[in-house]
Amino acid sequence: MLQKRVIPCLDVTGGRVVKGTNFINLRDAGDPVELAAFYDREGADELIFLDITASSDGRKTTLDMVYRTAGEVFIPYTVGGGIRSLEDIRAILSAGADKVTINTAAVQNPGLVAEAAGRFGSQCIVVAIDARQSGPESWEVYIHGGRTPTGIDAVGWARQVEALGAGEIMLTSMDRDGTKDGYDIPLTRAIVRALNIPVIASGGVGNLKHIAEGLTEGEADAALAASIFHFGEYSIKETKDYLRSIGVPVRI
């Protein structure tokens, strides 16, 4: 049986993890590669690195990080943030990443999704959608890290990028991100039901019940969380034990 995935997300800049970490058993908890290897050992199913650096110098550091990760991490890992071109995608994949996420660039140039899927395969093209509620049962796509509204309907956009060849959707509720109130379940479910590709729920996790809700009521294929793992509130193992105990199929 296909299992639900638990995915820690690491925000990085200049080759360092942005948010603080509480793991005293790591030599350097600010090193994304070491942290990633720790999550692999703990039982994470995948990892996402979100590069919040804008400068081109910073991108080189990120590529170096992606390259080093391939020697230490033996689960799939995805890199996102600031990816604008086929060349950016090629560089990240050849450094060793399994997938990339495209967000703003996909909205500004939907053809990039089709070209990237055609060139590298749908399986490595994840479209990240940042959405905010705009009415009852309707959500609007935001770009530039959630700062710029686009007027685009999130469900329609998700359908469009699936048709263009996206292999997966990483869906973040901007209303919930950072709140610890749980995922936006109606949004997650609406996107999942509109598509035939996997959806990663993101934004708002404060406890394990939230993760479970995203995977059950939200019907997502994977649950992404950041702070609850980084600050050591919950371990991956605790998360999976809990999910299994309530009947959610996960890899232990």
Binding site: M1, D45, A70, F74, I75, P76, Q123, P198, A222, R251
Partner: protein, 203 residues
């Protein structure tokens, strides 16, 4: 030394790094003569079946692969590399494969999300040195839209359920094909690479 064949179908760095992690000597090779000299051969691959066959032909790899298998060298096809071991694939029409194992490569059934992406379990159908230390029902990382249908049921070492039961690992006479990605399947995936390294060593 194990030769990991580079024929322009996906990134081979993680496969190489996986072997390195478990102390098995391997090298990424793009020259057919290096396959000839190797003690074992790995054929990875991500992408389209027809492109892969065309690239293997263009690289002069088809003959050396067939020769290596004929000589009884341990061989491991991963993901698309597993599918290429079969007679033919129905991906984008009909494309002939390497024909080591009788059988076809078919699209996964309708009604489920395709690609089949994520961690899924194996059911061990037949014990094999490749599976030493791998518990039944262990999970591994899959990403694929097509799966193999062996004619000869006894080559199926493990089955995996996704709408249908498909052969997730096949093997006969030290020629193996794995649908999932051992190099992306954490500790148990690395264990399989280590086991293949041992099969090569004891050969």
């Amino acid at each position: 030394m194990i030769a990991i064949i580079d024929y322009g179908m996906g990134n081979l760095r993680s496969v190489y790094k996986g072997f390195e992690k478990v102390g098995v000597k391997a090298a990424v090779v793009s020259d057919p003569s290096q396959v000839d000299q190797a003690d074992g051969v790995v054929l990875p691959g991500v992408g389209a079946f027809a492109d892969a066959m065309a690239n293997l032909r263009a690289a002069g790899m088809v003959e050396v692969i067939l020769q290596a298998i004929k000589e009884g060298k341990p061989f491991l096809g991963i993901c698309l590399g597993q599918q290429l071991l079969f007679d033919a694939s129905e991906e984008w029409g009909y494309t002939q494969g390497l024909g080591i194992f009788p059988g076809q490569v078919r699209r996964l059934p309708e009604g489920l999300k395709v690609p089949h992406m994520g961690w899924n379990q194996i059911e061990i159908a037949r014990p094999d040195p490749l599976l030493d230390g791998i518990p039944d029902r262990s999970s591994f990382y899959f990403v694929h839209s097509y799966a193999v249908e062996p004619v000869d049921a006894e080559i199926t070492l493990t089955l995996t359920e996704y709408g249908v039961h498909f052969a997730s690992i096949v093997g006969k006479n030290k020629v193996y094909g794995i649908q999932f990605h051992p190099e992306k399947s954490s500790a148990l995936g690395l264990k399989i690479l280590e086991n293949f390294g041992r099969v090569v060593k004891t050969c």
